[in-house]
Structures are given as C-alpha cells and as structure tokens.
Symmetry: C2
Subunit: 105 residues, 2 copies
Amino acid sequence: MLYLLTYDIDTESDKGRRLQKVAKICESYGQRVQNSVFELNLDPTKMTELKIKLDEMIDPDIDSVRIYKLGKYMKYDVYVLGKKETVELSEPGEYEFFSVKTDLS
Amino acid sequence: MLYLLTYDIDTESDKGRRLQKVAKICESYGQRVQNSVFELNLDPTKMTELKIKLDEMIDPDIDSVRIYKLGKYMKYDVYVLGKKETVELSEPGEYEFFSVKTDLS
C-alpha cells in the first residue's frame, strides 16, 4: 500500500533533536521527497510499526504527523512544480513508484 | 477531485516573502492542515488555475511543489498523530471531507 506522510515537528522545544529523530525514522520506512514529506510503500505490519515508533517519539501537544493512504496500484501520478526532490533521494529507483508529471494538464 | 499539495519554499533568497505569497495562494484554494500541507477539493479548471499561479510565483530552481491526486470519493481517511491541525482551520467545516482517524489500526 502506498502512503504519503507529512509532519510538522516543533523545533523550539528541543533545538530540533526530535525533528532529526522523526526524520530518521521516516527515512527508514520510505522515500523523503521534501523536507517534511515522505512517500511510503508499506504493508500493514510495517505501517503499524512506524506509527508506534512515531507515537513514542513525537510530542502530541506540539507536533503533527499526517498519513494519507494513497492506494494499492503501483504507479501513482504526482504533479511537480520546480525542483523534483528537495533532498537527495536516499535510494533512487527502489521507491520510484510515483511517476512525476510536470505538464500543466 | 481531492488533492494534497505540499511545498518546500526556500526562504533564504527573499526572507520568506515568496513563502507567504505561495501560502496565501494555496489557502485560497483549499484547507491548510500543516505549515506546508494543504488539502484541496477542486475541479480541473480550478486546479489548472492554481498550477499557473504557483508556476508564476515559485523559483523553480530552489522551490518544490508536489500535488498528489487523492481521488474522487468525498470521504478520505487521514491518520493523524499529535495535533490535528498545526494551523488554525481557515474555514472549518467547508473542507471537512477528510475524516481524521487516530487509532493505530
């Protein structure tokens, strides 16, 4: 199953240490495509595992994690304006189940 | 059609002015749910209009906008950890087509 994970992690409270840890967890489960956006291709067990790790890491009062279920089909269109990946693709190829479209249609 | 829009807008180059303008554009087309994440419910004409405005506003070399097509059905599950909305819902209710789930299943 394909998912999109986005987060807002407060960096005031602990000078960004929690942000780094959350980012590291998310990168171990999927592909980072923007600073706080990850494309994931996980089975239910792995997704539950990820949720538990994030649940233990974030501060629920000031942090926010959203996980959108995108669907099962393996190819998914994402329309991109500007730079394709803000961050270096950690494992180019393996997660390339999102086909990038850049035309305006 | 439901969409998810996420962006990374570089703030070094013009002290965040472009970021504010991009955020304002996106807020006029949908619901901001995290600092750089918006849930949109738009017909094709409005989506094209939004893309053109963003295309004119961003710096394609340093900014990144990604738009994910989520689907047509009106109710969509988004799993949320921590704070539901990082930012004040601009128009609570009107865009509430995403039903928030907080259990770990």
